[in-house]
Amino acid sequence: MSKPMTTTDRRSFLKTGALVAAPLAVLAPAAAIAADDSAAKLARIEDERAIEGLMRGFLRRFNGKGNAEDCGQFIASAGAIRIDPQVRAIREDARADAELAFADDGHSARWTRPAEVELLANFAGQTTLEKMARFQGQGSARSLAKQRIEAEFVRVIEDGSPSWTITRLMLA
């Protein structure tokens, strides 16, 4: 069971003056960390990799199931995932780096990355068009949309070890 070590919200991010935005592919030293503090830098790199792995694991599980039903191990609470039920798959845009920003205290972070989202619309309504589409055997349609993953994380202690969990994830 994950235990939040700290709480944060959107406002705390917005008022944080020392956010660090670094493409994960270029793990630049965080401004908030002293240049000679190699232990802190190493810890930050580990945090970045942990969050990257967390997101990778979440997306793999989400895409495998086509929904967030079995994603409990990645999230802090049931309401953390705010994704339209039409979304069936989320694929990160490999051409764009993720942006990861840590709060000053290093206990929470925020991630954004462009993504291609696969949507499945079920034509269950009573419009004539939907009825006729169903009549033709076209009960649903898949489509792709360009969106952006926005996720927030907090550091937790899990089985005695520090870890990260998703407190909010949505597509914008």
Partner: protein
């Protein structure tokens, strides 16, 4: 019940066709089966004594012909037959005495390719016993030349074309081949209200010139109209079989002369010549997808409608509409306006637009103002479409208005419920009027006018991913809609009353009514400069209640048929 007529002067979807029994059908077919089909001109007599057809699936039938145009198939009792030849194709038709079935053979005398169509009454799969069923086999006639290459086959080559046909009976018809599985036809003589109707169809490639077409007027009389057409020479030979509105058997062959009206675009991928996108795997004999909208339509009484609305099941622009997934942004530009619309022969509507989605209205200066939710779209600068319900009106009216503030003109597609047919089916009338208010020019006696600019024109509409359609404005008072498959084949089709008003050059206000179908009044303001529309749907149903919802989609112009000359000056007038 409406007056009994062979060809009703009310819309076919309002006519109560008699549910004929098998015994009635058998009796009606008994003598004509023996005598063979009638014709206005001479029928041919085959010189060969036997014709054996073998289908690609091994189905085999043998016909034995005897003098006097007599034929027996597979040893059944002899019947009268008819035959007509067009170029290399001979069309042979007969019934089988003592049964409810018959056959049509389209035989290519040059290479012995042939198509066999079995026809039968009595249901299965049709739910109406009077409706003609058909099953089709492609194959060859044994003996003589043996066909090389592909047999006759379903084709998309006719899709989008339209023809005007005049039979040797004198009957004239416009046939729009809008789809690979449906057709839309307009009777110019037997029916008098200039409406078009939609029906399931077959399109079979015989040769590059010659195509076999058939439609079965399912959901109406159930009549078959079948012909082989020569697309180059604009000639046809055909068969009409079925029971008209007086339950009289029509069983005759005909020759026709045609006029090419044009071709609207097809939307399959280039190089895709497949033609059976809705084929039913392992379907029963004769089974195909025939749209029967009345079966799935909600049917409510006035009391049920009133109770649903009284219970608050009213939704005015409060839900996402799949008809507007690709719609344009709503406009808030009417907020703050105060104006009056004076409709000719209609109400005087005072408006105070209190916000981007709220207004107050008052009719004919009576009482106080009533608040209502509205949505508006500015489809061309200064020209808006907006809609709202008139709460408290006994027929739960809705006003869907195009207001051109630059011209001082307004047109209203006034929707209402409690029609004599189904209480939840939207009725509609078109009101023309003028806008009165500060800064609005006075148009004097000028008004928006009905237009034929859209007549014969077709647009595709991409409402939401996977939800697309094509409109065909087939007559001055008909809107037809056709649904594509994911492969771009246009397939199932239906149609209802339409009306078309010109607002400005390249800006048109159109509507359709889904009568005896889904009951919706659909309205769109079409901007042909941006090739996009914005519109409003007005609907009452058992689950969704009374609603106004947005419509919006980008368009493609599929083409325009040259059909104006087939309709008289007053062709938009008809009985609703």
């Amino acid at each position: 019940m409406a007056e009994r007529q062979a060809y009703p002067d009310i819309p076919l979807f309002r006519y109560d066709y008699t549910p004929l029994t098998r015994a009635q059908l058998a009796e009606a077919l008994r003598q004509p089966a023996l005598g063979g089909p009638g014709s206005a001109g001479p029928l041919e007599e085959l010189t060969r004594q036997e014709l054996a057809f073998v289908a690609e699936d091994g189905t085999r039938h043998t016909w034995r012909f005897t003098p006097g145009r007599r034929v027996a198939v597979d040893g059944e009792p002899p019947a009268g037959y008819g035959a007509l030849t067009i170029d290399r194709i001979t069309l042979i038709a007969h019934l089988v005495p003592g049964t409810l079935r018959g056959y049509v053979i389209a035989w290519d005398r040059y290479d012995n390719r042939a198509t066999l169509i079995e026809l039968w009454f009595g249901g299965e799969p049709a739910p109406h016993l009077r409706e003609v069923n058909r099953a089709i086999w492609h194959g060859r006639v044994e003996g003589g030349a043996s066909p090389a290459g592909e047999l006759h086959h379903p084709t998309l080559r006719c899709e989008g074309r339209a023809m005007a046909w005049t039979e040797d009976t004198g009957n004239r018809t416009l046939d729009y081949y809008c789809s690979v599985s449906y057709t839309h036809w307009v009777e110019l003589d037997r029916l008098r209200d200039n409406r078009g109707y939609s029906a399931p169809a077959e399109y079979i490639f015989l040769t590059e010139d010659l195509y076999l077409f058939s439609r079965i007027e399912a959901e109406f009389s159930g009549m078959l109209q079948l012909y082989v057409m020569d697309a180059n020479r604009l000639q046809s030979v055909g068969l009409r079989l079925g029971f008209n509105g007086l339950d009289e058997l029509e069983y005759y062959m005909f020759r026709g002369t045609g006029e090419w009206l044009g071709q609207n675009a097809r939307f399959e991928a280039l190089g895709d010549f497949s033609a059976t996108p809705l084929a039913i795997a392992d379907g029963a004999k004769g089974e195909r997808r025939i749209y029967r909208p009345l079966e799935t339509m909600d049917k409510m009484t006035p009391a049920e409608v009133a109770a649903s609305i009284a219970a608050g099941n009213v939704h005015v622009f409060d839900r996402d509409s799949p008809m507007a997934g690709n719609g344009t942004e709503k406009s808030a530009a009417m907020a703050g306006k105060t104006f009056t619309i004076e409709y000719d022969g209609g109400p005087r509507m005072e408006y105070r637009v209190t916000g981007p989605e709220t207004l107050e209205w008052r009719m004919d200066g009576q009482g106080s103002f009533t608040a209502a939710r509205y949505n508006a779209w500015e489809v061309m600068p200064g020209a808006f479409i907006f809609g709202h319900l008139l709460e408290g009106m006994p027929n739960h009216d809705g006003h869907i208005v195009v207001a051109d503030f630059d011209a001082g003109l307004a047109t209203n597609y006034h929707g209402f419920l409690n029609t004599p047919y189904f209480a939840n089916e939207a009725g509609a009338e078109t009101l023309f009027g003028k806008l009165v208010g500060e800064g609005i020019p006075d148009p004097g006696r000028r008004r928006h006018e009905r237009t034929r600019d859209l007549l014969g024109r077709a647009f595709t509409w991409e409402y939401s991913p996977g939800l697309n359609s094509m409109h065909l404005y087939s007559t001055p008072n008909t809107t037809s809609w056709i649904i594509p498959t994911p492969s771009g084949h246009f397939a199932t089709q239906w149609s209802g009353s339409g009306d078309f008003v010109k607002i400005r050059d390249q800006l048109y206000f159109a509507r359709w009514q889904e009568e005896a179908c889904n009951g919706t009044l659909g309205t769109i303001l079409i901007n042909m400069r941006t090739m996009h529309d914005a519109g409003i749907g007005y609907h009452m149903g058992t689950t969704g209640g009374l609603s106004m919802s947005n419509v919006g989609a980008p368009a493609r112009h599929a083409g325009k048929m040259d059909v104006d000359r087939f309709f008289g000056r007053d062709a938009w007038e008809r009985q609703a």
